[in-house]
């Protein structure tokens, strides 16, 4: 070990530069790996509905003369026409869907009556027409589906009494009643909690229409209603039928009434995939950056080691001549590389934590779990050893006779 260290002392600048490069790479790679893990964990969330069997369509009627009754009958006509489509097994109308990234109604609720202010705020509200639970494929963990008579006329925008029954998610139930069963519990809504509704069921999972951060992504209520102004139709079918149904929807709706604008339609699986598009793009970007950084660092190490091997050819010859084996020479360059990379990693880990603190401060990222640091360190050690192998083998191949040559 000692001769290696004293040899390195003669190349302080170069060694420091390589260490710096490895340290920067280590800092960026560990943070990039962490960002990738962070995004991947988001993308693995369960929506709580039958992702691959749903198609949605959003249609606005242009008949502004319509009163609520005629609007409802138009909705009913649309629903009937859509249900009759080939391959469609069910149709409901909803206000929004998990990860739709639009039409999110939020409200404040309480679990005690008569409070001046709601205790739980920003609870998302899903409204659905008869069949909502079954047709969307929402799984109930506890309790029951809505009864036909529970579907009521209700609009969250109208400050009126909600339907008498509500289904909540497991996550929300645990938040509202941490130590009790949620079934039958009252939820108070509206000004000073003057309206009450009771929990009849608990879903295992149902994501909000939009996620904001990591927390409370399943804080939502599901309410049974008869009609939804400004809502959307959701059709359930076998996955294979989706394309044909999507293609035919405009014609089917136009046959009911063509004074309308279809503002959007898509298969739900594609909607979910679109929601994570930015995350996927970021992951690819980070992977490319990690790849380029590692390649650059490796090539830098190769270039430097080759230079050193070339510079020391004479000395290697002398060492071989006085009895060093090929293995000794190989081991020498490998140990040297290990020392330099270790120095770089030590500095790099500090930089990684510092970089993470900077990112946390400015971009609301969570703290870097320390588990990512050994991964980055291991990657760099392996990379350094691989990069030095070629030049080191060339060094080991130097014949002892070189020592006798003057140049």
């Amino acid at each position: 070990m000692h001769p290696i260290l004293s040899a390195l002392k003669h190349h302080k600048t170069t060694v420091v530069l390589v260490m710096l490069e490895i340290a920067l790479t280590c800092a960026i790679v560990s943070n990039a790996l962490f960002l990738i893990g962070d995004r991947l964990s988001d993308m693995q969330l369960t929506t709580g509905v039958a992702n691959n069997e749903l198609v949605w369509v959003n249609s606005d009627s242009l008949r502004e003369d319509g009163n609520p009754a005629s609007r409802m009958s138009l909705e009913q006509a649309d629903l009937t026409a859509l249900r009759d489509m080939r391959g469609v097994t069910g149709v409901v109308r909803v206000n929004s869907l998990p990860l739709l990234d639009a039409a999110m109604w939020r409200s404040g609720i309480s679990v005690q009556p008569g409070l001046p202010k709601a205790t739980f705020n920003n609870i998302a509200m899903y409204l659905g027409t008869p069949g909502i639970v079954g047709e969307l494929g929402i799984k109930l963990e506890q309790g029951r589906d809505f009864l036909p008579q529970e579907y009521a006329d209700y609009s969250p925008s109208a400050n009126q009494a909600p339907p008498s029954a509500v289904i909540v998610t497991r996550a929300l139930a645990d938040r509202l009643w941490p130590s009790q069963s949620a079934l039958g519990q009252p939820i108070f809504m509206g000004e000073k909690g003057k309206y009450v509704t009771r929990v009849v069921g608990v879903t295992t999972h149902l994501l909000n229409p939009t996620l904001s951060g990591r927390t409370n992504s399943e804080d939502n209520l599901l309410l049974p209603v008869r009609s939804i102004p400004g809502g959307m139709y959701v059709l359930r079918m076998e996955p294979a039928a989706r394309d044909a149904v999507l293609r035919d929807i405009p014609a089917v709706l136009d046959r009911v009434d063509n004074d309308r604008i279809i503002t959007g339609s898509n298969s739900y699986a594609r909607t979910v995939s679109d929601y994570f598009h930015d995350d996927r793009a970021l992951i690819w970007l980070l992977l490319v950056v990690i790849g380029c950084l590692l390649a650059l660092t490796a090539l830098g190490v190769v270039g430097l080691s080759s230079f050193w091997v070339q510079q020391r050819t004479h000395q290697i010859g002398i060492r071989r001549a006085v009895g060093a084996t090929r293995n000794d020479i190989l081991r020498y360059f490998q140990t040297e590389n290990f020392l330099i990379v270790s120095g770089g990693i030590a500095l790099g880990l500090l930089l990684a934590v510092a970089l993470n603190l900077l990112l946390m401060k400015h971009y609301e990222l969570p703290r870097l779990p320390l588990g990512y640091l050994p991964i980055a360190a291991l990657v760099l050690w392996v990379l350094g050893q691989l990069a030095v192998l070629g030049p080191a083998l060339r060094a080991a191949a130097v014949p002892p006779v070189v020592a006798t040559r003057s140049v």
Binding site: T25, K117, S157, L285
Partner: protein, 434 residues
């Protein structure tokens, strides 16, 4: 002299093509990545109205109740109808306009054409003069049109062409929803980036196709959209936007001189006090007056993800630079013998330094070309993304020059240290090793 150095540099670089390619690649990658992200950042944080931006201001008032009151809280980002009307009537600025976004249903007259939605801006007369909107034909409406709730509209040229082919659009009657409107003006394509005057639906949306007097839109229930921030419980069904305790209007005022700006700040405070005395405002005066760029800044219009990616690209470039410095150092020190001979033959330290920098300059030039190509590719990739700002990511001439200059400067700077180290090698020692 430099011709000779470049000739030497070329020979030296050719002698070790792998190392040279590695350096060019490192610089190219670093420059390409950082210029891609810097260009995106440059486009996204640009000044939407360079001639006017210092004279345009966005006043904020705080009409909320005392519930949840905290000292030092920021006022709402939009204005309630009553305040906007009062500020318009006060006429304290050179121009002022209240506005909101939304969409209207265009029903083309020709049979068979289906109705469609277009984005609309509901605003007041000064909008066009204040923002210097370029008209192709006709002009805006007058403030008396605002008062009369006149059924007039201004349309964008793209919509006019779509509806009437190349024909004259001004004077035509267009049906929007249930009502007929007379087109009084056609504007040239106009889409400021960022969409500064209304940031409530993303900072980088396209310009609107239809402009309508705000009072008319309210009276006829045309589709006013955008965000609505309300305080207190109320029904949103049959919402009366004129009286509801909600802020939903953007308000801009043009103030040309510092004196005018100072006066306007004072006016906002005295207006708040007056409203508090009248019992409409509850809180102590809480006003803001951002100028255009300040308003963009306040709203953090550039998404955090773009800043993060820029930071990443710069970090990447730093690694590339360190890599280049290390490689150049190795390359220069390896030529100790050659330098020693040149020194011994009488070359000064300075000329050795110049020779080495010439070599670095050549590497920098090649790296610059590689960087521009990579940046063009990177921006093409950005344009394929579905984000609102993606279509804007183009390399303009200044950024192209900047890329070259950056590549050259960074390489030459990176070469300074290795060249300095190399030219200080004592010639005698270098010769002796030989």
């Amino acid at each position: 002299m430099f011709g000779y150095y470049f000739d030497l540099a070329q020979r030296s670089l050719r002698r070790n093509p792998v190392l040279t390619a590695l350096m060019v690649l490192a610089i190219g990658l670093g420059i390409g990545a950082s210029m891609t992200m810097l260009t995106v950042l440059h486009v996204m944080s640009g000044n939407p109205l360079p001639e006017r931006s210092t004279q345009l201001f966005y006043p904020q008032l705080d009409p909320r109740g005392m519930d949840d009151y905290r000292v030092g809280e920021e006022p709402p980002t939009q204005m309630a109808w009553i305040d906007a009307t009062n500020l318009l009537k006060a006429r304290k600025g050179t121009h002022q306009a209240a506005m909101s976004g939304g969409q209207v249903t265009v029903r083309p007259a020709q049979g068979g054409n289906r109705a469609f939605y277009v984005d609309a801006r509901f605003t007041t007369a000064d909008f066009f003069a204040m923002f210097d909107v370029p008209f192709a034909r006709g002009g805006g409406w007058s403030s008396s049109d605002d008062d009369k709730q006149a059924r007039v509209i201004v349309v964008a040229k793209t919509l006019a062409d779509k509806l009437y082919g190349g024909g004259q659009a001004v004077g035509k009657i267009l049906r929007l929803g249930q009502n007929d409107f007379r087109i009084v003006g056609v504007i040239e394509p106009w889409s400021p980036v960022p969409h500064f005057y209304d940031l409530t639906s993303g900072g980088y949306q396209d310009g609107e196709q239809v402009f309508m007097p705000l009072s008319t839109a309210l009276a006829l229930h045309q589709g006013i959209g955008g965000s609505l921030e309300c305080w207190g419980y109320m029904s949103f069904n049959n919402l009366d936007r004129k009286t509801a305790p909600c802020s939903w209007l953007q308000f801009w005022v043009q103030l040309d001189t510092p004196a005018q700006q100072r006066a306007y700040r004072e006016f906002l405070v005295s207006y708040s006090q007056q409203q508090k005395m009248l019992g409409r405002f509850m809180r102590p005066p809480n006003t803001r007056l951002h100028d255009l760029m300040g308003w963009l800044d306040y709203n953090k219009v550039v998404p955090g993800s773009v800043q993060l990616q820029t930071l990443l690209a710069l970090g990447f470039m730093l690694v590339c630079l360190v890599n280049t410095v290390a490689l150049l150092l190795v390359k220069f020190l390896r030529r100790g013998g050659e330098m020693g001979v040149r020194r011994a033959m009488g070359a000064s330290m300075r000329s050795i330094f110049a020779q080495l920098l010439a070599e670095a300059t050549l590497v920098g030039l090649c790296g610059g070309v590689a960087g521009v190509l990579l940046a063009l590719f990177g921006l093409w990739v950005v344009r394929q993304q579905p984000a609102q700002y993606a279509g804007l990511a183009h390399l303009d001439a200044p950024m192209l020059y900047a890329t070259f200059v950056l590549a050259l400067c960074t390489t030459v700077l990176a070469a300074m240290f290795p060249a300095w180290r190399a030219c200080r090698l004592p010639p005698a020692r270098a010769l002796k090793i030989q």
